[in-house]
């Protein structure tokens, strides 16, 4: 399974990379970690005429504190770096907990934050986590830069708002407010397979322990990270009783996701799993929120 021939560029600056993309448009594909792209090239499912390799651009890999709070991560930061970074563990524990769920160790050595997000596989943990955290993505093109909220970035199956001459260069993730708990739960056939279904839940409680705000994002449950707005609204203002959580999970799973059937699971089973995981994730998020002062 050898890839078809392609032309290759290894720019050392973002500007250089962008000029290649501008020149070649849809004929060119960006190569970051390669853990999703190269298998497809080896199967000859994709045969780009040109690869623009970002791996020689040193300024694209970093993890900094954002002066406004939260973290700024360069798009070319390897998953492994995010996994072991102390800032991430301390400030965004949800992200820290999500990282080991991504593929296998060798995938994480090479795969990148920006690559995973740009690839927009609806099974990607990072996409769902970014949306759940209300993160923002910085995109750059020869025309300039723009910020896109994570929840607006994913528009369909493997589709994002990225233009052919545009690159994702940075991910900004806020820390969670006080009295906010989180959870990420997945079910997969083997521990490190793509999730059959997964859910990320973030819940903020008020001083009396009533749910103030919730965000629930599902992965592998549609053509993009699926945010369950109405289920979240249902919870707002309610005490997090088992009945309330169950009702929210029920609503999310029945009305706000669009899972498909494949050889591993039917849409019906995915919906069932989504309901179960949503209830458990909300429960865990609420407990964690209650523990935080």
């Amino acid at each position: 399974m050898k890839p078809a021939p392609f032309d290759y560029r290894a720019p050392t600056t973002v500007e250089e990379a962008l000029s290649h993309l501008a020149e070649h448009g849809y004929d060119a594909k960006v190569l970051a970690g390669g853990q999703s792209l190269i298998p497809m090239m080896n199967f000859r499912l994709v045969q780009p005429a040109m690869l623009v390799d970002l791996n020689n651009i040193p300024d694209l890999a970093y993890i900094h504190a954002d002066e406004k709070g939260g973290l700024r991560l360069g798009a070319l930061t390897r998953h492994h770096q995010v996994e072991v970074d102390p800032l991430v563990a301390a400030q965004i524990p949800l992200l820290h907990e999500a990282m080991p769920k991504i593929g296998y160790p060798q995938i994480r050595s090479r795969g990148t934050l920006g690559g995973s997000i740009s690839h927009a596989d609806p099974s990607a943990e990072l996409a769902a986590v970014s949306v759940a955290l209300n993160g923002r993505f910085r995109l750059r093109s020869p025309k300039g830069e723009r910020w896109v909220p994570a929840q607006d970035f994913f528009v369909g199956l493997f589709s994002t708002v990225l233009e052919p001459d545009e690159l994702l260069v940075e991910v900004a993730l806020p820390t969670l407010p006080a009295r906010t708990g989180w959870s990420i739960l997945e079910v997969a056939r083997r521990r490190h397979d793509f999730a059959l279904v997964g859910v990320v839940a973030v819940v903020t409680l008020d001083g009396k322990g009533v749910c103030q705000q919730a965000r629930m994002v599902f992965l592998s449950a549609g053509d993009r990270p699926m945010m369950a707005h109405r289920a979240a609204d249902l919870l707002a203002g309610q005490a997090p009783t088992p009945e309330a959580l169950r009702a929210a999970a029920e609503l999310a799973a029945s009305d706000e996701i669009d899972p498909s059937s494949d050889i591993h699971a039917t849409a019906e089973f995915r919906r069932h799993l989504a309901k179960v995981l949503a209830r458990r994730a909300l429960d865990q998020a609420c407990r964690r929120a209650a523990e935080k002062k």
Binding site: M1, K2, P3, A4, P5, F6, D7, Y8, A10, D27, L31, G34, Q35, I38, P39, N42, F43, Q47, P48, A49, L51, D53, N55, H80, V84, P100, G103, Y104, P105, Q106, I107, S109, R110, R190, R191, H192
Partner: protein, 172 residues
């Protein structure tokens, strides 16, 4: 987009250090690192099982990180260092991890073994005293059809123990 051009494919000058030796060669960009190592350099210890990044048999260390060499183009290793199983030890002087695998019967057909060895070497460098669960997690990206993994896990425990003891003993 397959082409039927009669022009020769453009080659790139690759300079990569493999097991301590610098190699310079002109390669096509599409040449996979796994094929470059095996067929251009004759280092056939690294094996190819799937070419889509799941089985892990092709795992090598790229700048000391374990990567699937079937998912890296050789040109991407330009200016970097690669360690393959041949760089870990030789028959008369096995690396402690290799020796532990021999002691614990962690090898049957040997096809997945080189990829596991490089994975384990990198893993133990970061986690010198792992428990069973951690070891199994670390190995989850290396498929083995012969052993059921048990003796491999035992081998990793043994290697960790031996390397820790060696480390603790005063140098002579």
């Amino acid at each position: 987009m397959a082409t039927t051009e009669t022009t020769m494919p453009k080659l790139f000058e690759l300079a990569v250090t493999v097991n301590g030796t610098c190699h310079e060669q002109a390669v096509e960009p599409r040449t996979l690192l796994s094929d470059f190592l095996r067929h251009d350099l004759g280092l056939t210890g690294t094996h190819v099982g799937c070419e889509h990044g799941v089985c892990g048999a092709c795992t090598v260390l790229l700048d000391e990180e374990p990567v699937r060499s079937c998912l890296v183009f050789a040109v991407q290793a330009h200016g970097h260092t690669v360690t393959t199983v041949e760089g870990l030890g030789v028959i008369d002087q096995l690396h402690p991890v290799q020796e532990a695998f021999r002691q614990a019967h962690g090898v049957q057909c040997g096809f997945c073994t080189p990829g596991i060895l490089t994975t384990v070497v990198a893993f133990l460098a970061e986690n010198p005293d792992p428990g069973e669960e951690e070891i199994r997690e670390a190995l989850s990206g290396n498929l083995c059809r012969c052993t059921g993994y048990q003796h491999i896990v035992d081998a990793v425990r043994l290697a960790a123990q031996n390397m820790k003891t060696a480390h603790e003993q005063p140098a002579r």
